[in-house]
């Protein structure tokens, strides 16, 4: 286990108390808190380095450009990509929408898009809209009640050579870790592109796009100690030439005339408009912070807390969903008590957990539940916070059961 107390000291957020109690923040799959190092880096980028990257010849603009490109290199290193393959976006949702539209627009009507029932709405509605716009259809790999993809269904549907297979790496509801390498390979064997929603995996484990050999990979800065408003779309180099940009504007062009334009080199081709310099710098600082801890340690710590949490909740009779061996996410229900009521009792103890459908309604349908409670962990959480959650859950069960 990491020394969570020591880590917490880096987070100004945890200086505050809620109802006189220290806040046990267990909703990290939704968003994470930010360490001082990230806030300072962003502040510094505003105070000392604020100019429009790429657009000026003066020293400050050059510095801004360099800071932005250094952040890109940092991200690229972190996921095993080339800097040119890292496209900065607003968040994972933005990244997935871009991927969906690029892919769907690149083929004639009538292709199939393969998704899974496990997807977050980000990797679902994005493709539904793009497929409708460009005249493609969607099919979905079934999820079994144990929270894993159904192997036969997967092989059958992947075998029908869809245009693309886009899937979640780590489920935000169940913590299921899909074998992304195998799934990418399966896609490629069938002549499909592979797109990975890595919003819950990049923050929690070492992810290497070379090893996964995917074509696209999407994640958000705010779920990994970085700021909101910055996300990443990794896009394999070979594809970057093939795709036409979706959006036009400044910096994505080489030459513009009234008759048309030619495109700047990737990744700039896919980054129209003034970039989010401070967001990129903040994300780079978050990566530094995580690398300082070590991604293996982050993963082990969160998995350890999830395992402990499952054990404690099981001990008080909670119903748990998803695989026992998953990422740092625990979904549960207590008797027939509505998750909102459970979350409310937890809130009274200054324990923040999520309740509801977690933006994955088809998955909830597949599991046969309307909603669940979810505790999700990160580097600053510890067992004592899990104990507080368990005691709040018991109290809810006693009052409402």
């Amino acid at each position: 286990m990491l020394n969570a107390k020591k880590i917490r000291a880096d987070f100004p957020f945890f200086k505050q108390k809620l109802k006189g109690k220290p806040l046990a923040y267990l909703d990290n799959a939704a968003t994470t808190q930010k360490p001082r190092q990230v806030l300072d880096a962003m502040q510094e980028a505003y105070v000392a380095r604020n100019a429009n990257p790429y657009r000026g010849a003066y020293a400050l603009a050059v510095e801004a450009t360099e800071a932005y490109e250094r952040a890109r290199e940092k991200v690229a290193d972190f996921i095993g990509a080339e800097p040119e393959e890292v496209i900065f976006t607003r968040n994972a949702t933005d990244s997935l929408n871009i991927a969906a539209n690029l892919v769907c627009a690149s083929r004639k009507r009538g292709s199939t898009i393969l998704l899974t029932e496990m997807e977050h709405h980000s990797n679902l509605v994005s493709w539904q809209l793009a497929a409708k716009r460009w005249g493609h259809r969607i099919s979905y790999v079934k999820v079994k009640s144990d929270g894993h993809l159904c192997r036969e269904d997967l092989e059958k549907k992947a075998g029908m050579s869809p245009l693309v297979f886009s899937f979640v790496h780590v489920s935000n509801v169940l913590g299921t870790v899909n074998n992304a390498k195998q799934l990418s390979q399966l896609a490629h064997e069938n002549g499909s592109l592979a797109c990975i929603d890595a919003a819950q995996s990049v923050p929690h484990m070492s992810v290497d796009v070379q090893k996964l050999n995917c074509d696209f990979l999407a994640f958000s800065g705010h779920k990994m100690l970085g700021p909101a408003g910055i996300g990443v779309l990794y896009m394999k180099k070979e594809l970057q030439e093939e795709f036409e940009p979706l959006f036009g504007g400044g910096e994505m062009i080489k030459k513009v005339s009234l008759g048309g334009a030619s495109w700047n080199d990737p990744p700039h081709k896919f980054e129209p408009g003034t970039p989010n310099l401070q967001g990129a710098v903040g994300l780079a600082a978050a990566i530094d912070y995580l690398m300082g801890i070590g991604m293996e340690n982050v993963e082990r710590h969160c998995q350890g807390l999830a395992a402990y949490c499952r054990k404690e909740l099981e001990g008080i009779g909670a119903q748990l969903y998803g695989p026992v061996k998953g990422a740092g996410i625990v979904s549960f229900n207590v008797g027939n008590i509505h998750p909102h009521d459970v979350a409310h009792f937890a809130d009274k103890e200054a324990v923040a957990i999520r309740s509801g459908h977690h933006c994955a309604q088809p998955l909830m349908n597949a599991l046969g539940i309307a909603a669940s409670c979810r505790a999700s962990f990160y580097v600053y959480n510890d067992k004592e916070e899990v104990d507080r959650l368990a005691s709040a859950v018991s109290r809810a069960a006693k009052a409402l059961g």
């Binding site: 109802k19 008590i337 509505h338 998750p339 909102h340 009521d341 409310h344 009792f345 809130d347 009274k348 309740s355 509801g356 459908h357 909830m364 309307a370 909603a371 009052a399 409402l400």
Partner: protein
């Protein structure tokens, strides 16, 4: 926080022993709605005679606040005229509940009222979209 203790005695009582819960035989109108945020789902069936709600029942899966609100609301409007029930204000329901549920849970508390009004409009053959302010 407003929601410091919304699980009052009377709310727990209605939650654990909901009045008018179940399915009504031969309903004159039924309606159903859900709260997209949390998945609360409530359906209400009403029986009407001489422009009065002579009987009604609610059903669904929802949080304690929503169940308690449905229980209290159905108890309150049973035997009342359609017009009065149609004009039932959210303030009146909140004062029945006796709590301020706070901005997030307010939707849970008001869902049963919305569903009741949908059922009434359906019975009257009116399009609820065209009526102002369901709740």
């Amino acid at each position: 926080m407003a929601a410091e203790d919304i699980y009052r005695e009377n709310i727990l009582d209605h939650y654990k022993h909901p009045r008018n819960k179940g399915k009504i035989a031969q309903a004159d109108a039924e309606a159903q709605d859900s709260n997209p945020l949390c998945g609360d789902e409530i359906s209400i069936g009403i029986r009407v005679e001489n422009k009065k709600i002579v009987d009604l029942k609610f059903d669904g899966s929802a949080c304690a606040i929503c169940i308690a609100a449905a229980s209290m609301l159905t108890e309150e409007v049973k035997g009342k005229g359609l017009e009065e029930a149609k004009g039932f204000s959210k303030e009146r329901l909140l004062s029945l509940l006796g709590i301020d549920p706070g901005p997030v849970r307010l939707k849970c508390a008001l869902l049963p009222l919305k569903v009741l009004k949908l059922a009434i409009y359906r019975h009257l053959g009116k399009n609820p979209e065209k009526e102002d302010g369901l709740v």
